[in-house]
């Protein structure tokens, strides 16, 4: 344990206090590592072991919370090791039940003041950057940091641009920001070091909505460019509690 050599010794099991176990599939993000977390969590949920109370994924791991009085660490660790050995998790298909979302999005201008900066760092014109981003279905790699907030990826390599050292004072709800080949979509107004490039008409955490958290890790999103006025109409719908994004099942 404790080594950081790429992919040596993964997947790894860690104890997290008295009621948590973490199955780590890598120490850096790759689509294969992330896919392994999604597939493995689906298998853990399907196994429905007595005593497991909750599971969740990060970019690279699966976390399990359990009742250590009903289910011992040793028993759960043994079950997890068996499940890990049962197949090559880095090569299995993504779980079923995922969705593809199409979200009306405005890029640049007042709704994305750092689009030009981000595009030039990717050595693209703003229009080409928008074209590239909007035709790439990005996977919900994980949800977290703040409720409902998706980390999305990955974008083509040219978008491997660093986070800013200083924070943007305020990016509003729906704000779409870019760094390190990923996008984040903010559920509420926030400060961020990611470059703010657009605004997407979806509420990823609607407390009173029929689906308070519409997105699930593993879903994919296409951010479809619309005009500023089309976006504002769509945003008014979002604020009225309506789902303005379309959604279809992924195979």
């Amino acid at each position: 344990m404790g080594g950081t050599e790429q992919d040596s010794g993964f997947p790894r099991l860690h104890r997290m206090g008295e009621a948590g176990l973490l199955v780590e599939f890598g120490d850096r993000l790759s689509m294969a590592v992330n896919a392994a977390t999604l597939a493995f969590r689906a298998a853990v949920e399907a196994a429905a072991w007595d005593g497991v109370e909750e599971s969740a994924t990060s970019l690279k791991s699966v976390f399990l919370r359990f009742d250590p009085v009903r289910l011992s660490h040793e028993a759960l660790e043994a079950a997890l090791k068996d499940l890990l050995r049962s197949r090559d998790w880095y090569g299995v298909p993504l779980p079923r039940g995922r969705k593809l979302w199409r979200v009306p999005t405005v890029f640049g201008g007042d709704h994305g003041p750092q689009l030009e900066e981000a595009a030039s760092m990717a050595k693209l014109s703003p229009d080409d950057a928008v074209a590239q981003i909007s035709r790439t279905p990005v996977r919900v790699l994980t949800i977290g940091f703040s409720p409902g907030m998706p980390y999305l990826g990955r974008l083509p390599e040219m978008f491997d641009i660093p986070r800013k050292t200083e924070l943007n004072p305020h990016v509003p709800a729906g704000g779409l920001a870019l760094a390190i080949r990923q996008l984040v979509l903010f559920p509420v107004g926030t400060q961020t070091g990611w470059r703010w490039i657009g605004r997407a008409a979806i509420d990823v955490f609607g407390q009173q909505a029929e689906q308070p958290f519409p997105l699930t890790a593993g879903d994919e999103i296409l951010f479809q460019p619309v005009t500023e006025s089309a976006f504002e109409d769509a945003w008014a719908g979002v604020e009225a509690g309506r789902m303005m994004a379309s959604c279809e099942a992924l195979p």
């Binding site: 993000l29 969590r41 791991s61 977290g144 703040s146 958290f213």
Partner: protein, 342 residues
């Protein structure tokens, strides 16, 4: 007849709290809920209500002023002891009382600890995502303000009960277990974590508490760039200035700081309730000790109703009259003779 508790004035940290919303980590929401679950259970025992549905007003550091409208209300005061009076008459903390219709309840600052609880019989609110508590950092619900009105029910009994509350308000030894990155810290750093005299930083919140100390920080030598990972209440992160930071109920769901340890569940309330500046020491324990503490706490919670007793007793029922309240004067919130000093 509707029974309402009206908030006439509110301290800065009043919110509705229950057992929180466990189970939403995959959606990015930490469990939240009362910082002192024991106080909710004590409140339920005093009010003879279902502990599984306990709901109370959590008061961080200081209370507020409240009035009963429409009916007499039954209240119970639990958690961090605060000064409390009804129309000028001092109240026993860790006790149940009738707040008469039209009377004013005034709850002042904490005398010990951080979080006091105002439990009210029949207190209810709408559920959001399966719970009625505010999750302030997650944007669910919010803090109470003057003018807020809460639905309750008329007092079902005459109160007058008390419960001997465990002292969990002054910090002390906190038992810890290893976490994900513990083995990436140098052995002497881990040893120093156990020998250092920490104090709880005054800026603690429902999200977490920084542990202040003199001397060098606790960063690991490697100080790896850690990809954000799932974090849970109890985890002890080493933040940028080298201080340990204990995550509490409303922590974020993911974080990138290395975790040196995690607090056992039975001791987390002690971290949350410690008053600002309270001494804190960490001690690594075995998993067996952590599980035994967890089981003992569960048993203690189940037996809480049996710890409730009448506050006013006939002199003949009191075995040693002189050692009772006559020596310490009237029952006051400043000195609670029934509290166990540990």
């Amino acid at each position: 007849m509707s029974a309402v508790l009206q908030i006439l004035s509110a301290g800065p940290g009043l919110s509705l709290q229950d057992a929180g919303r466990p189970g939403l980590l995959s959606k990015g929401l930490s469990r939240g809920g009362a910082m002192d679950p024991l106080a909710l259970a004590e409140g339920a025992a005093l009010l003879r209500s279902d502990p599984g549905r306990a709901l109370a007003i959590e008061m961080a550091g200081a209370g507020g002023t409240f009035r009963a409208e429409g009916a007499d209300l039954l209240i119970a005061l639990t958690g961090a002891p605060m000064t409390a009076e009804i129309d000028g008459a001092r109240l026993h903390w860790s006790g149940s009382h009738v707040l008469p219709r039209g009377a004013t309840l005034k709850i002042g600052g904490a005398l010990k600890g951080s979080y006091g609880y105002l439990n009210v019989s029949g207190l209810d609110a709408a559920e959001i995502l399966g719970a009625r508590s505010a999750h302030i950092s997650g944007g669910i619900g919010g803090r109470f303000q003057a003018g807020d009105r809460l639905t309750c029910r008329p007092a079902p009994d005459a109160g007058g009960m008390m419960i001997a509350a465990d002292d969990r308000f002054s910090g002390g030894e906190i038992r810890i277990l290893p976490s994900v990155q513990t083995d990436q810290f140098a052995t002497d750093t881990l040893a120093r974590l156990e020998t250092t005299a920490f104090h709880k930083d005054a800026r603690a919140s429902r999200m977490g508490a920084r542990m202040g100390h003199d001397g060098p920080g606790f960063s690991s030598d490697a100080h790896l760039a850690i990809l954000s990972e799932i974090i849970v209440p109890g985890d002890v992160q080493v933040i940028g200035d080298g201080s340990p930071f204990v995550l509490l109920n409303e922590c974020q769901s993911m974080g990138g700081y290395p975790r040196i340890a995690t607090v056992i569940s039975a001791d987390l309330t002690k971290v949350a309730q410690a008053a600002p500046g309270s001494p804190i020491r960490f001690r690594f324990v075995t998993l067996a000790e952590a599980l035994s503490a967890r089981t003992s706490l569960d048993k203690y919670l189940k037996l809480l109703p049996s710890r409730v007793e009448p506050r006013v007793r006939h002199p003949g029922d009191i075995p040693d009259l002189l050692s009772y309240q006559l020596v310490s004067g009237v029952i006051s919130a400043h000195h609670d003779p029934h509290e166990q000093e540990t």
